[in-house]
């Protein structure tokens, strides 16, 4: 067995935030990320899922040092980047890019789209003015916009188009790793699909490694090679995507999967959801953090935290009882569409291909 080529690793990564400073006593802290060991393989799409507030964004931002860890290290291509400064840090930034959920908030409204996409090229001293302009035009076309859009401002674009601008900007310097925090969550279904396709095409074309955070588990099933499930600041399960969805090993993963509404009539009994609320991250439960909501919890779970344990290459779980549990995942056999629906889908696809050429490129959006 060969060891996988890791592009990014974290070791015991932690981040605390002070939420309140009382007059007396110590400040109240939330442990947003509490000891995460990630191993991202070169070329894979790795997804991070978990409930709101479990620390996904905090983790993602630490990976590119948009925020600094309280403890632990981030290794990019075997090099500790936590302490990098100045020129070294800038060089590293070229290789690691970030795509935000709300592209509007991350794009300077006073800069033209062309300037926004050119900015990282200029910052890294890549190419002369003409080359850079050509590259901007090329990137705009590649993400399904038009070269003449370079002269417009972000507010003149729709949400989906702004996300394309954010993607073009992230790709400008040909990064090795792109981290996308909920890149399609704010978009409408059809626009979301266009951006999902775009991200997948670009990943292949630019030979990227992609880390994607999404709360839509269907999007993750579609895009990811492997998935890491987070609960209250910690990883509780890592597995390849198909295994995770069909044979979850952690009770929390099982609960997440059972809660997904499946877009087919009558294939799935309605889920009742996890009992209880996500607990307070300021005072996480003792023992296994999931125990107050876990239907399989025992005395051991209430007292002793389960370590993240390796099951197989690229798969781990943090549950005392994982070896004995037989958990329910998605049933892949019963998911077929009706023949009539399948026929219409095929016709639709065929007609689109016929009208737009065989490859179904991302269509440019109409002039606005």
């Amino acid at each position: 067995m060969t060891t996988p080529d890791l592009i990014l690793e974290t070791r015991s990564l932690r981040r605390r935030f002070v939420t309140r400073k009382p007059l007396l006593g110590p400040p109240v802290e939330v442990r947003a990320v509490d000891g995460v060991d990630l191993r991202i393989r070169r070329g894979e799409t790795f997804a991070i899922v978990g409930e709101s507030g479990c620390g996904k964004s905090t983790l993602a931002r630490m990976l590119v040092r948009l925020i600094e860890p309280s403890e632990g290290t981030v290794l990019f291509e075997n090099r500790n980047i936590t302490g990098l400064r100045g020129e070294e840090m800038r060089a590293m930034r070229r290789d690691l890019q970030f795509i935000f959920q709300d592209p509007f908030a991350s794009l300077n409204p006073r800069m033209t789209v062309g300037a926004l996409i050119e900015e990282p090229l200029r910052a890294h001293g890549l190419g002369g003015p003409d080359e850079r302009r050509a590259r901007v035009a090329e990137l705009l076309e590649r993400v399904g916009l038009l070269p003449q859009h370079a002269d417009r401002y972000p507010h003149e674009f729709s949400g989906g188009q702004r996300q394309r601008i954010g993607i073009a900007r992230a790709l400008a310097c040909a990064p090795k790793l792109v981290i996308a925090d909920e890149p399609v969550s704010a978009l409408d279904v059809s626009i979301q699909a266009q951006v999902v396709n775009l991200l997948q095409d670009l990943k292949d074309e630019f030979a990227l490694t992609l880390i994607i955070i999404a709360h839509d588990l269907a999007v993750i099933r579609h895009m990811a090679d492997r998935v890491g499930v987070m609960y209250l600041g910690q990883l509780v399960e890592v597995a390849d995507t198909d295994t995770l969805f069909t044979h979850p090993r952690h009770p929390y993963t099982e609960a997440l999967i059972s809660a997904i509404p499946v877009p087919r009539v009558g294939v799935k009994p309605p889920a009742h959801g996890l009992q209880g609320e996500p607990p307070n991250p300021i005072a996480p439960p003792a023992g296994c953090r999931f125990h107050p909501r876990c239907p399989y919890a025992t005395e051991l779970c209430r007292s002793t935290p389960p370590p993240l344990t390796r099951l197989a290459a690229g798969a781990s779980v943090a549950c005392h009882h994982a070896p004995d549990l037989s958990l329910q995942g998605l049933n892949d056999t019963g998911t077929g569409r009706s023949p009539a629906a399948e026929r219409r889908f095929a016709l639709y696809r065929a007609m689109r291909e016929q009208r737009e050429g065989q490859t179904l490129p991302v269509p440019p959006e109409p002039e606005i």
């Binding site: 409930e51 709101s52 729709s158 989906g160 409408d188 279904v189 059809s190 626009i191 699909a193 266009q194 999902v196 396709n197 997948q200 095409d201 588990l217 269907a218 099933r221 579609h222 198909d242 609960a255 997440l256 809660a259 997904i260 509404p261 499946v262 877009p263 087919r264 009539v265 009558g266 294939v267 309605p270 889920a271 009742h272 959801g273 996890l274 609320e277 892949d332 998911t335 569409r337 009706s338 009539a340 629906a341 399948e342 026929r343 219409r344 889908f345 095929a346 016709l347 639709y348 696809r349 065929a350 007609m351 689109r352 291909e353 016929q354 009208r355 737009e356 179904l360 959006e365 109409p366």
Partner: protein, 346 residues
């Protein structure tokens, strides 16, 4: 009390006919000729991308449209024997929050941040029922219990901001259901929630509906939610109904190119496939509603005849579609031989 006595089995709870809404300064109707029927105890889901007129339709039924700038161009909405669009405001106020109620994506749309949750629910009860303070408070407590808010006695005296998002959503549902409405309209009630909390809220809505036989109109863009909740589905595009029918019909025999495009745009949770087959382009903005079939600019089947608006035809079994080419095998026959169609059909 409202009618009921003279209503027979076959009288629908709500019958909307030809609802059209226009805004000042905008040339086309933003809701155009919408008709729908809903029986007691039934769930109707309205799907479509944002800007397709789903919320406007719901707000119109509740009498909550901002008029002006909005103007109702046509339409009737017979609810329990009365036309909601043709009654004095006072009469509508008696019905609203009582016989019909609405919940929103953002609970703070209906909850007042400055008033304790229990008081708000009690107030909603007192406004419509002749009960005293204690009785109203007891009802509020019962409702919080029914929406399964933990420690309801304590929560009665909490302010909305002291609750989590999922709990506020449930408090809003408790308030909407406090007077046992016959019709609940829910506009994207779970869109902002985690998938686990969404499952709880959907389960709750199903249970309460079973207990009270309320009808539910649920607006969503999640086809998974539709498949789990709906008896009937209405697909809206650019202000018009393009397809409607029993949920099984629409999912297993989808007819309209927009419905098909929506379904194929959503990753389907099956084993990993290739690229998603998308709908090109975007929903037309309010001030540029196209003539003819409004979907034509994005429709791979469009042809010259689509310059005229297709009527909503009934295909039988209450399955309706507005497309000149439905069913597509016959409307686009040359494609049945296309290699892509062959491949996928086998």
């Amino acid at each position: 009390m409202v009618s009921g006595a003279h209503m027979t089995e076959s009288t629908p709870l709500l019958q909307v006919t030809d609802l059209s809404i226009r805004f000042a300064g905008v040339p086309g109707n933003l809701v155009d000729g919408v008709s729908l029927t809903l029986n007691a105890g039934e769930t109707l889901c309205v799907v479509g991308e944002s800007g397709c007129g789903k919320s406007l339709t719901a707000l119109a039924l509740m009498g909550l449209l901002p008029m002006p700038p909005a103007r109702r161009m046509s339409g009737q909405a017979i609810f329990e024997g009365q036309d909601l669009f043709d009654m004095p405001l006072e009469a509508l106020k008696d019905i609203r929050g009582n016989r019909m109620a609405m919940i929103f994506q953002e609970p703070m749309t209906s909850l007042n941040p400055a008033i304790k949750v229990g008081e708000q629910i009690a107030e909603a009860v007192r406004r419509h029922k002749g009960v005293n303070r204690e009785q109203a408070r007891a009802r509020a407590l019962e409702m919080l219990r029914r929406v399964r808010i933990p420690a309801p006695e304590k929560r009665l005296d909490e302010y909305p901001h002291q609750m989590s998002g999922g709990m506020r959503q449930r408090a809003m549902i408790a308030m909407a259901l406090a007077n046992d409405p016959a019709l609940l309209i829910a506009d994207e009630p779970t869109t902002a929630l985690d998938v686990t909390v969404q499952a709880q809220v959907l389960d709750l809505m199903r249970t309460l509906q079973r207990e009270t036989n309320a009808a539910l109109i649920m607006i969503t863009h999640d086809l998974g939610v539709v498949a789990e909740m709906a008896d009937t589905v209405v697909v809206m595009y650019a202000g018009r109904i393009v397809e409607a029918g029993p949920v099984r019909k629409v999912f297993e025999d989808p007819q309209h190119p927009y419905t098909i495009g929506l379904m194929s745009s959503m990753p389907d949770l099956g084993p990993r496939g290739g690229r998603l087959v998308t709908i090109p382009g975007v929903v037309p903005p309010a001030d540029a509603m196209p003539e003819g079939c409004r979907f034509a600019a994005r429709c791979p089947f469009a042809g010259a005849d689509c310059a005229a608006a297709p009527p909503l035809r009934d295909l039988g079994d209450r399955h309706r579609v507005a497309c000149w080419r439905a069913p597509l095998e016959f409307g686009a026959p040359d494609l049945a031989a296309h290699p892509a169609a062959q491949g996928a059909a086998s």
